[in-house]
Subunit: 198 residues, 2 copies
DNA sequence: ACCTGAACACCGTTCAAGT
DNA sequence: ACCTGAACACCGTTCAAGT
């Protein structure tokens, strides 16, 4: 449909025009625009084909999050819809079931596994929302300009690492850094739990 | 201004009406709506009074992130503006300077400190965006309903932990869980670095 | 009964007419 | 020169008129 126009370009009128029908004919299929957007999110979720992952719980979570990120980036504008309507459909929960099962089997409590999954989701979805892949270069340029314009006396640390700051505005290494940090954090949680159990 | 109406309620026409001026008079102050929203973000950033934090690098980052979360939640709708225009002003970078300095002093490389800060920012801002504090109860209810409606055969893990899943939809403990996990992950990064140095 | 064009109540912004 | 109302090109949705 209208990935190419972005969320702002997706209007009932233009969509109807594209489909060569009267604007109001859309209301035969969906009661209002919200319902239509829900259907868009659901359709996108159905596109995801999650192979059952192999390896350690870390490997599995890493795979699931990379896949989630790719799925969200496949349709720019999708993330902005999901930010406005936190929807939960069976299709969306497919990956969550797999990820949480891996954690439970590794020894996490139910509460820990639930919180850990939600944190991973928030991080990954937040990453896509704040570092849109189609505007990384622009964001880097903007970050570099902003850092260079800072009074060095007040911002000594930032002024001395402009390149490093620009590097954080998107891309695979930045995403993987945060993912690794979270998984390492969960690892220490798991070790602590095993220790107190003894 | 119009915190109470949300982003959708903030229109040039209504704002002008509120200010008892003609709609077009606003354009004497800001060239367009984008500029006005930028000014809103900047004003909100200026409200933040960051005391220079004490304690370990972890304590300092924890304080800064709690403060960032509180600042973002103080004005609902602010986060949605910032999601659409990744703006970088000196006011916004105040906390970043403090946080990054703490990490550099603790032994992080520039690149690590930059990536670690960005990850914390993405997590915290993503948390506020995906778990809006004024709709936590609603989100919990929705999550519980969605989990209960799942076919237990296909979703055995999720079906057995509905309460725990609902708990992750917002609140302080969920935020702190993710924050702790990230900081624990950074800790192991720092330890690994110290080890290879010897 | 089903479908849909006209109309309504909104937008942001241009542009020309007022002072 | 400065200010701003009318007008333009859009919205989503209601409602009544068409088939």
């Amino acid at each position: 449909l209208l990935d190419r126009e972005g969320l702002d370009g997706l209007s009932m009128r233009r969509l109807a025009e594209q489909l060569k029908m009267g604007t109001m004919s859309l209301y035969r299929y969906y009661p209002d625009k919200n319902a239509l957007l829900d259907a868009v999110v659901d359709t996108a979720a159905a596109e995801r084909a999650i192979r059952h992952p192999r390896g350690s719980w870390k490997d599995q979570l890493r795979y699931l999050m990379r896949e989630l990120r790719a799925a969200l980036e496949r349709h720019p504008g999708l993330i902005r819809i999901r930010l406005q309507r936190p929807m939960i459909s069976p299709g969306i929960l497919r990956g969550e079931e797999v990820g949480i099962r891996a954690m439970l089997e590794a020894g996490f409590t139910k509460s820990q596994a639930a919180r850990a999954w939600r944190t991973l989701f928030v991080y990954t979805a937040g990453y896509v929302a704040f570092s849109p892949s189609d505007r990384v270069d622009d964001a880097r340029r903007q970050a570099r300009a902003a850092a260079a314009a800072l009074p060095p006396g007040d911002y000594p640390s930032l002024s001395a690492m402009i390149d490093q700051l620009a590097d954080t505005m998107g891309g695979d290494p930045q995403f993987e850094f945060g993912l690794d940090a979270l998984l390492a954090g969960y690892d220490s949680l798991l070790r602590a739990r095993r220790d107190t159990r003894r």
